[in-house]
Amino acid sequence: MIYYVAAFSLILIGTYAVLVKKNMVKIVLGLSLIDSGVNILLISLGYIKGKTAPIFSTPALKAQNMVDPIPQALVLTAIVIGLAVTALALTIVIRLYDHHKTLDISKIRELKW
C-alpha cells in the first residue's frame, strides 16, 4: 500500500511542479518525478509480498514464489525512455537559456496565437 501512496504522491508532486513552477529546470524535474512515480507504481503492481525475484537462482524456486517479472521489464524500458526524455529536455532548456537568458517559462512565449 505504501508503494501506491508513494507512487501517487510522486506523480502529484511532479504534476504540481509541472503546472505551477515557472522554472524550466523544475518542470523537467517534475517530469522526472512523474516518471519515477509511474515506475514505482508499475513495480508495485507486480510485487507480491513475500515473493522473491523472478530469477531461477535455485532449482527449487517455483514460479508461484516469484513476483511478476513483466512489470520489471516494463519499468526498465520506461526508465530508459524517461532518461532520454530528461536528457533531451535539459539540452533544450540549456539552449533556451542561451537564447533567452532566462529559465522562466512564462517569459518564453514568442510563439502564440
Binding site: V18, L19, K22, I105, S106, I108, R109, L111, K112, W113
Partner: protein, 619 residues
C-alpha cells in the same frame, strides 16, 4: 464507346493538353482548345433526340450519366456559346499572359458544365458543380492584381451554396440510399413536409447563388466585371444557366411536379413555386434599378443579368407550361443577348482599354459593327418587338396574368420598363454622344471577334420572327422530362388562353414599314449634309473642338434621387459586415493558444480531470 464519356474526356483532355502543350506557342493552345470544343460539339450534335445512359460505379456509389431532351437543350447553349467564345478568344486573348491557363480553365468550365447537364444522379451533379465552381473561379481571378476580393467572394458564396446543396443531397441519400434522379422523383412523396422544405431551401440556396438570384447575387457584379470579357459572356450567358437548370431539376424533375401535393396552392401554383416567382420578380426589379446607375458597362450588364435571370426564375416558379416555356425561351435569349453584349463590351475594352461610360462615347462611327450588335442586343434585352426578347417576355407575362398574380405582374412590368433605361445608358454611353479625341483612331475589332457577335445577332433576329423550332424543342423537353403538357403554338404564332401574338407578322410589319419609310425618306428628299459631332447648337457659345460635351457622368441623377431609398441598401454591404464580424469572432479563438507551455499542460490535465469526472457517461 459511349458518347457522353467520350465528350467529357475530349473536353477535359483538351483542357489539360492546352495547358501543357500550350506552353509552346499561342496558336497551339488556342487551337487545341478550339479543336477539342469543335470535335466534342460534333459528337454532341449526334446525340440529338437520343436518350443514352452510362452507368458506372465509383467509390462505392452508382453514377449515371444520361442525355435527354432537357440536357440536350442546355448542352446546346453550352456548346453554342462556348464555341463562339473560343473563337472570340483567339483574338481577344492574343498577347495576354498565361493564355494556357485561360484555355485550361475555359475548357474545364465548359466540360464541367456539360458534365452537370448530363448528370443523371445527384453525386455527379455535385461533382461537376464543384469543378465548375473552381474552374470559373480561376477565370474570375485571371487578372491577378485586382481580382482577389471579387474572386474570394465568388468562391465563398459558391461554396456556401454548394455545401448546402451537399447537405440536401446527402439528406436525400440517407433516406433513399440512392443518388439517382429517378429514385428521387419516385421517392419524393415519401419525404415528410419538413424534409421537403429543408431540401428545397438548401437546393434553392445553391442554385440561387449560381443563378445570381437576389439576395444571393452579390458576387455577380464584381466577378463579372473583373473576369476577362470573353469569359464573362460565357459566365453570364451559360454558367448562370446552370443555376436555372438546377431550378428546373428541383421543381420539375426531383419533385416530379408533385410539390402541390404537400404545399398549399396559390393561384394554381404551389407555394414554393410562388415564393420562387416572387424572388425572381424582385430580383428583376431591384437589380434593374441598381443596373441603371452603374458607370461600368460590365457591372451594368452584370446587374442586368441578375435581373434577366430573375425573369427566368419567375417563369419557372409559375409552373404552367406557358411560364416554363417562357422561362426556357428566355434562357436561350439571355444566353444570346448576354453573349452578344458582353462580347461587344469586351470588344470596346479591347480597343479602348476602358469600360466606363464616363470615359467613352461616340464610338458609333469607329466601331459600327459592334454598335449594331449592341443595338440588337439592347432591343432584345428590353423585350421590344420584333426581336426574340419579346417572345419570351410575352410568354412570361401571359403566364403571370393567366394565373391572376397581379402584383407579380406589376413588379415584372415595372422592371421591364426600367430596363429601357439601362439599355439606353449602355448604348449611349459607349457609342453615342461626343467622342473624346483620344478615341479618334480607334478601329473596329478583327473579324474573329466580330464574327461571333454578328452570328449571335442573327440568332436573335431569327428567333424573333420564327421561334417555332426552339418552341418545338422546349415542348419536347416539357413533354418528355418535365411532365408538363406543352401549350399551343403555331409556326410563328404564340397562343395563350388569353391572346396570341404572331411574331412573323410583327417582324414583317416592322420591316416593311421601315423599308418603306426609309426609302421614301431617303430618296424623296435631298441628301443630308453630314457635320461633326461637335458641331452642335449651343445657344451662341461656340465650344472648341477639344471640349467634350458628352453627358455621361451621373446620367440618371434625378432617377437615383428618386429611388435613393432602394439604392441605399446593399445586401453586399450586409454580408461583408457580417463576414468581417464573424471573422473577428473567429479570431478570438486563437487566443486559446496562449503560447505558454504550462497552460497547454494545464489544458491536458484539465481535460483528463474533466473526462474522468464525467467518465460514467462513457460507459
Amino acid at each position: 464507346m459511349n458518347t457522353i464519356p467520350l465528350i467529357l474526356l475530349l473536353l477535359f483532355g483538351s483542357a489539360l493538353l492546352a495547358y501543357f502543350v500550350g506552353k509552346i506557342n499561342f496558336v497551339l493552345k488556342v487551337g487545341i482548345a478550339l479543336a477539342g470544343l469543335l470535335v466534342s460539339s460534333y459528337f454532341f450534335l449526334t446525340l440529338y433526340g437520343l436518350s443514352e445512359k452510362f452507368i458506372f460505379h465509383l467509390a462505392g456509389f452508382e453514377l449515371t450519366w444520361q442525355i435527354n431532351s432537357l440536357s440536350w437543350f442546355f448542352g446546346m447553349l453550352i456548346f453554342g456559346l462556348g464555341i463562339l467564345v473560343a473563337i472570340y478568344s483567339t483574338v481577344y486573348m492574343r498577347g495576354k499572359e498565361r493564355v494556357d491557363f485561360y484555355c485550361f480553365a475555359l475548357c474545364t468550365t465548359i466540360a464541367s458544365m456539360f458534365g452537370i447537364v448530363v448528370s443523371g444522379d445527384l453525386l455527379s451533379f455535385f461533382f461537376f458543380w464543384e469543378i465548375m465552381t473552381w474552374s470559373s473561379f480561376l477565370l474570375v481571378i485571371y487578372y491577378r492584381y485586382e481580382a482577389q476580393t471579387a474572386g474570394i467572394k465568388y468562391f465563398v458564396m459558391s461554396a456556401i451554396g454548394a455545401y448546402s446543396m451537399l447537405i440536401a443531397i446527402l439528406m436525400i441519400y440517407a433516406r433513399l440510399g440512392s443518388f439517382s434522379f429517378q429514385a428521387l422523383s419516385a421517392g419524393w412523396q415519401g419525404f415528410s413536409l419538413g424534409t421537403q422544405i429543408a431540401i428545397i431551401i438548401l437546393f434553392v440556396m445553391a442554385f440561387g447563388v449560381k443563378a445570381a438570384m437576389m439576395p444571393l447575387h452579390t458576387w455577380a457584379p464584381e466577378a463579372y466585371a473583373i473576369s476577362p470579357s470573353s469569359f464573362t459572356s460565357l459566365f453570364s450567358g451559360v454558367l448562370s444557366k446552370m443555376g436555372i437548370y438546377g431550378f428546373v431539376l428541383l421543381f420539375y424533375v426531383f419533385s416530379a411536379g408533385k410539390l402541390s401535393a404537400s404545399f398549399v396552392d396559390i393561384h394554381g401554383t404551389s407555394l414554393p413555386g410562388y415564393i420562387l416567382a416572387w424572388f425572381g420578380a424582385l430580383s428583376a426589379l431591384i437589380a434593374t434599378l441598381i443596373a441603371i446607375v452603374q458607370d461600368d458597362a460590365k457591372k451594368l450588364l452584370a446587374y442586368s443579368s441578375v435581373g434577366q435571370l430573375g425573369y427566368i426564375i419567375l417563369g419557372l416558379g409559375l409552373g404552367s407550361s406557358i411560364g416554363v416555356s417562357g422561362a426556357l425561351f428566355h434562357a436561350v435569349n439571355h444566353t444570346i443577348f448576354k453573349g452578344m453584349l458582353f462580347l461587344a463590351v469586351g470588344a470596346v475594352f479591347y480597343r479602348t482599354g476602358t469600360r466606363k461610360f464616363s470615359e467613352l462615347g461616340g464610338l458609333i462611327s469607329r466601331m459600327p459593327y459592334t454598335f449594331f450588335v449592341v443595338l440588337l442586343g439592347i432591343i432584345t434585352i428590353a423585350g421590344i418587338p420584333p426581336l426574340s426578347g419579346f417572345g419570351s417576355k410575352w410568354l412570361i407575362y401571359e403566364a403571370i396574368i393567366q394565373k391572376k398574380m397581379v402584383f407579380l405582374a406589376v413588379v415584372t412590368f415595372a422592371a421591364s420598363t426600367a430596363s429601357f433605361m439601362y439599355c439606353y445608358r449602355l448604348i449611349f454611353g459607349i457609342f453615342l454622344g461626343q467622342r473624346d479625341e483620344k478615341y479618334d483612331d480607334v478601329k473596329e475589332v478583327p473579324w474573329a471577334m466580330r464574327g461571333p457577335m454578328l452570328l449571335l445577332s442573327l440568332f436573335t433576329i431569327y428567333l424573333g420572327f420564327y421561334p417555332y423550332h426552339l418552341l418545338n424543342l422546349i415542348a419536347e423537353v416539357e413533354k418528355t422530362v418535365l411532365g408538363i403538357h406543352p401549350f399551343a403554338y403555331g409556326q410563328s404564332v404564340l397562343f395563350s388562353r388569353f391572346g396570341s401574338v404572331d411574331t412573323m407578322t410583327v417582324m414583317n410589319v416592322v420591316a416593311v414599314v421601315f423599308v418603306i419609310v426609309f426609302v421614301l425618306f431617303s430618296l424623296l428628299y435631298k441628301r443630308s449634309r453630314k457635320v461633326g459631332l461637335k458641331d452642335i447648337h449651343t445657344s451662341g457659345e461656340i465650344p472648341g473642338e477639344e471640349i467634350n460635351l458628352h453627358y455621361a457622368i451621373d446620367f440618371y441623377q434625378p432617377f437615383s434621387r428618386g429611388v435613393g431609398a432602394v439604392l441605399k441598401r446593399s445586401a453586399d454591404r450586409l454580408y461583408m459586415n457580417f463576414a468581417s464580424n464573424m471573422e473577428g469572432l473567429f479570431d478570438m479563438m486563437r487566443y486559446i493558444y496562449t503560447g505558454n507551455g504550462q497552460t497547454y499542460v494545464m489544458y491536458v490535465i484539465v481535460f483528463l480531470a474533466f473526462v474522468l469526472a464525467f467518465s460514467s457517461w462513457l460507459i
